[in-house]
Subunit: 437 residues, 2 copies
Amino acid sequence: MTTRKPRIVVVGGGFGGLYFVRALRKANVDMILIDRRNFHLFQPLLYQVATASLSAGDIASALRGILRHQDNVTVWLGEVVDIDTTARTVVLADGNTTRYDTLVVATGAAHAYFGHPEWERDAPGLKTIEDALEIRRRFLLAFEAAEREPDRDVRRALTTFVIVGGGPTGVELAGAMAEVAFQSLPRDFRSIDTRMARIILLEGTDRVLPSFPPDLSLKAKQQLETLGVEVRTGAFVTNVENHAVLVGNERIPASNTFWGAGVEASPLGRNLGVPLDDAGRVIVEHDCSIQGHPEVFVIGDLARVPFRNDIVPGVAPGAMQMGRHAARMVTNDLQGKPREPFHYHDKGLLATIGRARAVSDAGWAKFSGFPAWLAWAFIHILYLIGFRNRILVMLQWAWAWFTRQRGIRLITEEWAVRAEREHTVPNRDPPRPTPTI
Amino acid sequence: MTTRKPRIVVVGGGFGGLYFVRALRKANVDMILIDRRNFHLFQPLLYQVATASLSAGDIASALRGILRHQDNVTVWLGEVVDIDTTARTVVLADGNTTRYDTLVVATGAAHAYFGHPEWERDAPGLKTIEDALEIRRRFLLAFEAAEREPDRDVRRALTTFVIVGGGPTGVELAGAMAEVAFQSLPRDFRSIDTRMARIILLEGTDRVLPSFPPDLSLKAKQQLETLGVEVRTGAFVTNVENHAVLVGNERIPASNTFWGAGVEASPLGRNLGVPLDDAGRVIVEHDCSIQGHPEVFVIGDLARVPFRNDIVPGVAPGAMQMGRHAARMVTNDLQGKPREPFHYHDKGLLATIGRARAVSDAGWAKFSGFPAWLAWAFIHILYLIGFRNRILVMLQWAWAWFTRQRGIRLITEEWAVRAEREHTVPNRDPPRPTPTI
């Protein structure tokens, strides 16, 4: 009788899940990687899709393609909706249930709308490819509408863009939008001067990039202002409307708001029966497993791991390291070795602010300006998955560098919406992955 | 008193409209180019977006960007819904009206569902970027669903793809889908063998590529069959259902059907008050203007222009040539010269059938196989607009050539649909280009 291989179910193909799976590429295990999407997304460059620099395909790779030659893993496209840690099963949205010996939950986090989920309609966040394409659509559409708008105030609101949240996402988005409006677009319009657009970055605390050292926050603010971004700190959003944002009692007429604030961990953490923090992160043990269930690991943005006087930040290196650590613990178990605590190696912080500007805190040294930007570009190309993607992204950066243009200025919308409007498609059903014949 | 410049309104930024506008780049006129989309689309490569080889951004360029330095043209994003040839005005969907001295209508054509528009839901065509992304989504999703489907018959239907229409669109789509299923994907799945998929091409007449010489039709059929496509001629579709296609009384279980048959000209032709042919094309005068209105030109796929014993085919060179001809007639008018008849220069026909296979009828010679494919690749790169796009497309073709992989295997869907499912966005309005404050 042969011993059954341990069955490991991994939920989520982001940095945490993917690095876990790849770390076990030579292990004698059976892995199932389940993700709602069929691709791994390189989220750090998502803002460049939202600002028309890159195509979605440049920063995403099919998970099956990445793991094609790793025979100990099967990829499933599916959504895990429940976990039973007693029965050791996960339940999928289609009703199917699958058993595990070891479970890795790596479903990440999204933005939080401070208890106002209804704001999302008028202030989309930036977590998925669809989010990025929607932000691109609204951003570009605003200039198109302004070009033909006779009313001065409406035109003003159309070309006022508010970005909520002064963390890396908000800073990168604001910097890139300023470049598009002030450098790429001016020659393209006849009635409006896109240099009159307003890009307003709102941050609730007293400085942008609050997780960075104060002097780099100041540098970032200066670099943003050089690009033409209006940076407002200590600014709490009290409401988001169709064509305005309220900051305290002040009303900013702005037809487009984009959201990059707050953290709300994946709801799947609630199904584990262990304590969560205020943002819904799972409070894990030293080895990234959960209390009472050494066979369940929680890694990446969904895990709350103490680090110095704070916690491990929700950045890609944290997720990768936890993924590799959990893989090592699985190997330890197989070899009868004891578990070890996870130690976060702080690789520093990096945020880019437009063409050739960035701020970087590498721990042993702080950079800003061009050296920081070079480091940023190098690291992002290095961690981007796939040779093809690396070449394409480098090429497009080079092109954008020399021309100051943006290559992917497409306003697209939903197929069903267009199809219905143009050809009156009746009675449209959602496409059905599992048919009944 | 200075003479007012002639005001030329051009409706549609496809090959016809764009080549018209560019031909008049030095003319002393005021042009307004109106398009529903903000980009020019290189439609001949759209099937490569649908089959995961290229990104949408690789074959589309912002019209404003293309015409940035041409100061005699203004680009409007808008939809023309009516034309008043007596008052010389066009009416936009937003209610605005604009006057013209000369009008160029170049709004093209779509597929025709033989009087069954309800088939579109289950058999999307391939005319827009959204169409291509929807086809890509359904095509890739079918394999994902099959991988986890226990029922053999359902699995069989999921991996049976029917393409209706044996013209260039259908032939190119079928060839590319066969390559993906039989060459790119097999290593990526664990439960299914994607080489067992069926790609069925249905053509109503007695041969594929009916506009080509019969011997090239035969070559095309042989090349398709070598790739694994089932080619069925004389096959009339009598119904398209959710998971089946009916050919006569035969029922083919297939969860995905794609449409590339028939021609239905843009409905705007009906607003001109002149005779149309059965496909809704406008019957134009020898100079591409319409009867009784020498100041109105109809060009491209919307125009019916006699050629030899047939009409000018609905291909890019026809539209480009008519665009340039109409521009020359405008110049003639300005210089007091008489109008001239349009002469179509037949550059031949080309259709590609997968990697390194194609058929070509250049008039003076017929090619098939690799020489035809080389000609095809060269011509498509040559006419693709934008240096950036040319480099990116060539690079991705080279990558696909050597790896036989497809780079853009993303299953994406509508932002609003995803947002609603994941975060319960309430009461979603369509985004509004023109706000009221």
